[in-house]
Amino acid sequence: MIPVPPAIQRFPWKLIAVLSAITGFGLLVLYSAAGGNWSPWAWQQGVRFLVFLSVALVIGRFPIRIFEDFAYLGYLGVLFLLIAVELLGFVGGGSQRWLNLGFMNLQPSELMKVAIVIALARFYTQLPPGNTRTFTALWPALAAIGTPAALVMLQPDLGTALAICIGGVVVMFVAGLPFWWFGSAAAAGLAALPILFSMLHDYQQKRVLIFLDPESDPLGAGYHISQSKIAIGSGGIGGKGFLNGSQSHLDYLPEGHTDFIFATMAEEWGLIGGLGLLFAFFLLLRWSTRVAIKARTRFGQLTAAGLTMTIFFYIAINLSMVMGMAPVVGIPLPLFSYGGSSMLTIMTCVGIILAIENDSKTGTRRFH
């Protein structure tokens, strides 16, 4: 046996392997989607992954205390950016999600998915255990979730607003708030669905309706879902073979390298490729769930659980969407879809969870 230096041992090799496997597979699909070309997508995505992986590993070395200390400040800062985007968007006209920082386009709503989880985790860490079932435990959290979610809805970006809500609600759930609150909220939500539906924008309403019956308009708005299902279904068990996907290569599949990349993959790699990818995501989420359960601090527990949910939400909504089980909401598949914003969010989540894991390996368990 070759002795491995402790510094190398401390590296989360397994995690890196899972992340690289998902992204590497994604690069192959991007290569194919570009008609057998590393440009314009695959090489850029690869470089971006290496950068963001390094960032995640660096974040993973941070003491967990830092996130706890800057939780509220970070949340308020991101909230301020959201308002700024809204105002600039109002000036610019139309839907604005981006803030141009010169060197990159920043999407504050992406940052909010992380910030809301950390802020609520800090809030419930500080909340005296006896108050868990009181109104004190509820309204600050609802306000903290509702404000950014409403701002994002105004952009309008239904998918991200939902992600923010889900992340926050899961933190509330695992923090121990009474079960029936969630149950009755869910019931009330179901009852209010028609009202909420009427508040959606026309194109969002249309997406929901199309989702319910995609064949009603196979050439119009239902086109995305129909073509995506054709791509996945025609792949069969073994797929049509690498570079042989006709749906993606002949442009029938829209957004074949971003939101609908799973369909591009499934057409060429079939059910085997799809289940393999699902398994890789399972390994990633199992790791983060284990980190949450084993976390040394309550803040770590809540944060890890919330961020796990954020990652999961991306995967679940995207896959449901491409398989025709959810409306088209424009959520990319983490690490797989071409694009920087979602990768930045996911890798930030991974980095913070890594920091929590590292924290739990040092010292003893303590709960605040």
């Binding site: 255990p129 121990g176 050439l219 279904g233 006709s246 002949l250 499934a266 699902l278």
Partner: protein, 635 residues
Amino acid sequence: MFGKKSPPITEAWRGFTFTRRALVVGGAQAAVGVALAARMTYISVIDNERYVLESESNRVNLTLVPPRRGWIVDRHGKALANNRVSLRVDIIPDRLHNKDLVLGQLRTLLRLDNDAMDRIERDLKAASGFQPVAVAEDMTEQEYSSILVHLPELPGIAPQRGFARNYPTGAAVGHLIGYVGAPTAEEYEKVKDPLYITPGYKTGKDGLEKYFQEMLRGKPGAKRVEVTARGKVVRELSTQPDTQGKTVHLTIDADLQEFVARRMGPESGAAVVIDTLTGDILAFVSMPSFDPNSFSDGISNSEYSWLRADDHQPLINKATRGLYPPGSTLKPMAAIAAIDHGIDPSERHTCIGGYRLGSRFFRCLGTHGSVDMPTAIMKSCNSYFYWVAHRLGYDAIAPTARLTGLGEEFQLAGSNQRFGTVPDSAWKMRKYDQPWSASDSLNAVIGQGYVSVNPLQLAVMASRIASGRKLYPRLVNRHFKSDPLPFSADALATARHGMDLVVNGPGGTAGRSRLPLDGIAMAGKTGTAQVRGLNTGNGKGGTWRFRDHGLFVCFCPVDNPRYAASVIIEHGMGGSRAAAPVAKDIFTFIYDREKGMEALETFEAGWGGTIKERMDRSYAAWKAGIAAPDPGLAQ
């Protein structure tokens, strides 16, 4: 223990709750994961077949390739109707995502007018799926390449090289060949053949094109191409070539057909040339005509109105559908009837400038003095034939008229004939419930009164007199029994001799139309048919409408005849003046093409160019007239 009250909340309880709830969340996530895996399995395994099909139907576009139409060729294999390459652009409705933008682009690129845009919009509404809608046909290479260049910005547009029908001699074969056109919606409803709604496919609409449709049609090919979502063809997967339709061989002589058509000049009329050995129709002309190329490309409304407005009636095939009083052209036939009813051809009758029947005096065109039968034919003496008709009665002559083809409807490919009247007493009783009178006989024998014939019948009559056999006219190699006619040799010889004298005798009515050829002479008979009183003009067309028709029937050479012909010039003011010179040039062309062409070119220089040049000019003038109506005409 604590009743409804919850246990006291401690940090330990909180930690326990967290673990439990985290596992619940994790479990829910796993359940969703399993559901997704199941959903994917369902789509890709259970529904696989259906989606493979849909993916294939996305990818592969099957298009019919319209078959190339069979040629129509003349007796020497020269094309009367063939195909030429046609550049066309269609819209595939299913691939058309931004209709307004694409149509706007097309409009600019191809300079389409409002009519064309309306038609495209209308067709698009009626069409569905991959059923292409024609945008433009017969584009220039320049227009075509401008579309090719812009193709990436024009999703749903499919340019292709197809074939279009082509008639090399244009208007000269209009009435003979007919034309083709896109099938109508009713035709498609009847057969439900997708070929019928494939752009570029044409069916025969008139004449021989319609008659031989099944033969000329051919079998369509098919092309499987891989296409992108925007309709761009990536590659051809497989192509099944079309099978061209069969060639139709006609008895027509293309060169003669064109010559005759051109020789008609600006006149309205018809001419038919028949081979007296076989009954083959060598030329079958009705002028003025239309250009079948215009019809086959989809004639414009204004061009059609122009044709309809012409008082020379270019849309009517006068060779089969024009009925005329035959005038004196029937006299050789009447001579045959007379001899076979016992009149000695050398018996003389004295023409005193007419014939007295009771209190009426039937006029002759001259005072011919004492004439025998051949001389009477030569001079076209009415008095002589009045005398014959009065002696025999027309019931004796009518059967002979029918035997020579008058009043007969022939089995002729692609023609729609009006076959006229050969009257007799039974016919008159049937039709008018009146007895036949002697004056009816006198009128009928000089081809006036109730008699009416079409030019084809006159040519058949000439060929039967020339050959002595019951020839049937034919356009394709179709077998007819051509038995000898039951006429005595003496009768036929006298009729032919009289016709010889008409052209070559001293003072024959067509003496000016002797053939300018050595050793070949033409025999014929002029006819002048009165129009006034028969034709109820609407008072608008000036005097042209009331002039007499000029007719001429003839055969050539005089001894051992080979060709027979009839020529009718409407309102030509006399057979010798208008019709016989045309016949002269036709036979001159048959025996000496150069000499014939020389004569023709001299004429055409005077008329203002070839048929096409004159038609184009007339159309342009008509369009200009429509644009700026003459204020003088407005009432």
